[in-house]
């Protein structure tokens, strides 16, 4: 396939889509699958056939429509209408009344002018609700693979890296390392073989951004990786996806096959000299394999344990060769940057953190789901405008960002702009984008205990501070929750947290105490109120609390 063929295919597909008066898109992401979109799809299909609308109306499964808490969702594209809580009955009514008679089903309609939609800026999620998640033609019709074509025909590898650097894109996996800089190091590395790896091992509890991107728009990630391969001089890519994402893996497999068939992956891509293959590696469920050095070891078939950096993967990665490793969302940003130019991207978000960030809103919030917002947006806006605040009768208490490695942000800091640096100043991190909202019914010590339980369970056991330290932090938190802990225990907890944070080998251990430290920082009184007075012993060895001792003295 040449670049001309690609554009011809795009036009052909656009013409095919224009034939239909209506395009009905049902959300086919995991959230809506679990709330029953398969039955909705079957009913929609049946209704369209029965009413003889097959020539007029096209039915397709699209990526995540955002409002996961209100699924199954159906979107009528021609006359933009989003329906929530669709069941078989409503599905039939959509076809009969909306498509057939032009009357919307008011009961299930969601207002698209709602701040949930209006306050978002979509780059990564731009194709959600637009294209069929399993069709490469639809992706191509929506300017897909145009960025790869542009890179291969009009730009040299250095120019591609230059664009990414100028755009100021930073790693969306959480640490925020400049992507262009990382690529540049790999490009300059001298080696007969280089690799491109995509980290799709999204393990944070409550996070599903990467899953949604892979399920709804897999080609976007493949295109980003192919561009990375071209920029750094790699001919092999690996996507490391966790086994808990069967649908995402299925769609990725389909997408890779489709792209290979059209010559957009494989040898001589778009009739150029560039070869690039992508293979999938499936993780076995260890959280630590999201840490890049552990991930690379797992890709190589070894035990998934982190190793000391430096050397960084960009110098010595897979099989000791220079390796680019980026997150799903980072790759999803590449194609739009090349298509629209670095200046466009740099103009969105803040100066230090340009672009957007996808967050998975979960917890005690009215609208749970997937949102994409420009960097630097105040936290308040995400929670109250987009998320609609906490359920009625409850009060917002804290937002937890960054999963088990992040921290809790209290209401005093609601005006905080959401970017890499600002979140760090309050002891949290951007992380991959999970955002869990808690109301006044949540006990913060319990929250810290929950995350510590997770970290303790997921510690690989290589370094002592994380292996044994997280165990004892958990035990101490349990003691506090059970009101068995004294002030000495509390002091020990703080000391141990600092030690684990500063001495652990990898990011998992270094960040594991964050939920505890940030809740101590902002909700200290919740810890103090659970402490019991220190016990002393009398001459016969019986336990005495100071209170009783004082009474005896009297």
């Amino acid at each position: 396939m040449t670049v001309e063929d690609l554009r011809e295919l795009a036009e052909k597909e656009q013409a095919r889509q224009a034939q239909f008066e209506h395009r009905i898109l049902y959300c086919s992401s995991a959230g809506c699958v679990s709330s029953g979109c398969d039955a909705v799809k079957a009913e929609l299909k049946k209704a369209i056939e029965e009413l003889g609308l097959t020539n007029k109306c096209e039915l397709l499964g699209t990526g995540c429509l955002g409002l996961c808490g209100e699924g199954p969702l159906v979107f009528v594209h021609s006359d933009p209408t989003l329906y929530q809580h669709v069941d078989a009955k409503v599905a039939r009514r959509i076809v009969e009344e909306h498509i057939g008679q032009g009357k919307k089903v008011k009961e299930n309609e969601i207002d698209l002018k709602d701040p949930f939609f209006a306050s978002q800026t979509k780059i990564v999620l731009e194709n959600m609700g637009k294209i069929d998640a399993e069709s490469i033609e639809e992706y191509i019709a929506a300017d897909g693979y145009e960025a790869l074509a542009k890179a291969l025909t009009e730009m040299g590898p250095e120019e591609v890296i230059g664009e990414i650097r100028k755009a100021g894109l930073r790693g969306r996996g959480g640490a925020g390392y400049p992507t262009g800089l990382k690529w540049d190091i790999v490009r300059k590395g001298v080696s007969d073989q280089k690799y491109v790896v995509c980290n799709a091992d999204e393990g944070d509890p409550g996070a599903f951004m990467d899953r949604s991107v892979l399920e709804g728009d897999p080609h976007r990630v493949l295109e980003g990786m192919a561009i990375a391969g071209y920029a750094v001089g790699a001919n092999q890519g690996y996507i490391y996806a966790r086994a808990e994402y069967p649908l995402a893996i299925e769609r990725l497999k389909t997408a890779i096959k489709q792209a290979e068939k059209l010559g957009l992956l494989g040898n001589r891509i778009l009739e150029s000299q560039f070869n690039f293959r992508i293979d999938i590696r499936i993780g076995a469920g260890a959280f630590v394999c999201g840490e890049e050095t552990a991930l690379l070891r797992s890709v190589m078939g070894r035990r998934g344990r982190p190793k000391v950096r430096p050397p960084y993967p960009s110098e010595k990665g897979l099989w000791g060769k220079p390796t680019v490793i980026n997150n799903v969302e980072t790759y999803a940003n590449i194609a739009p940057i090349l298509r629209n130019g670095s200046a466009w991207f740099a103009g969105i978000g803040t100066q230090k953190s340009p672009g957007t960030k996808v967050f998975a809103l979960a917890g005690k919030i009215n609208r749970t789901g997937l949102v994409e917002v420009p960097m630097g947006i105040p936290l308040k806006k995400i929670i109250f405008d987009i998320g609609g605040g906490t359920p009625e009768g409850t009060e917002f208490k804290a937002a937890q960002t960054g999963g088990p490695s992040g921290g809790c942000i209290p209401k005093e800091h609601l005006d905080l702009p959401v970017d890499y640096e600002s979140l760090q100043t309050v002891g949290s991190i951007m992380g991959s984008g999970g955002m869990i909202i808690m109301d006044n019914t949540s006990d913060m010590v319990d929250v810290a205990k929950y995350f510590m339980d997770f970290c303790m369970d997921e510690s690989c056991g290589k370094c002592i501070p994380c292996r044994v330290g997280t165990k004892h932090i958990y035990t101490l938190l349990e003691k506090i929750v059970n009101r068995q802990a004294t002030e000495d225990d509390f002091a020990l907890l703080k000391e141990l947290c600092m030690m684990v944070k500063e001495t652990s080998l990898c990011g998992l251990g270094q960040a594991a105490p964050n939920p505890v430290l940030s809740t101590i920082r902002f909700f200290n009184e919740e810890y103090i109120s659970k402490l019991k007075p220190a016990t002393t012993f009398n001459a016969t060895g019986e336990e005495h609390s100071p209170v009783t001792v004082a009474k005896e003295v009297k």
Partner: protein
Amino acid sequence: MAVITFIIDDEQYSAQEGVTILQVARDNKIHIPTLCYLDGLSTLGACRLCVVEIEGSPKLFPACTTKPTENMVVRTNTEKLKKYRRIIVELLASEGNHQCAVCVVNGHCQLQDLAYEVGLDHVRFPYLFPKKSLDATHKDFVMDRNRCVLCTRCVRVCHEVEGAHVWDISGRGIHCEIIADLNQPWGTSANCTSCGKCVSVCPTGALFEKGASVGEMQKEHDFIKFIVTARNKHEWVHIAPEDE
């Protein structure tokens, strides 16, 4: 190779580029405590005892893997480091069943030496009292997993020096264990050459010779460096045991 100068604990030192802070410190008789590190084996950087402070960075760096750069200012013995090292040994003491008085290596144990060094007079964390298995199926040696500190010296020496790769790790986090072959009794391992290197390099009494009674098992850690130097450089030099 370029020579660089840098500062360890207010004294200036010069070193070949590419060597680690720990090597420079040892060459100059500066003591930095270590546990998983062993001359001749690959470095792991896992026990975190050798962490040092480097001026200008808020992070701590393991001396065994960090290479000095020109004018770097390294501190090896600050109050913070002493406190953290004590906690590391304290964590190990609470993790296993380390009852020195009934242990075969009592008096010759590196964990015991570390405990003395960091001043571990009591343990503030609850003992975990592990109930891990003891493998006495080998004809000459015993593996008591309850005394293991998971430094993986045995794993590395068996893989890297002996080339048998009998040992490996199973499990995760606090449930990590050293296993023989695919978790089979050690005595049934066809790979094991009974060379005893693992027993010699084990810093604690987790691996010991059968028949040794309390305090009788003495270990020889330094011959690995001799073997590796001989093999790689064809130089048969005895390296004097570390005197620090």
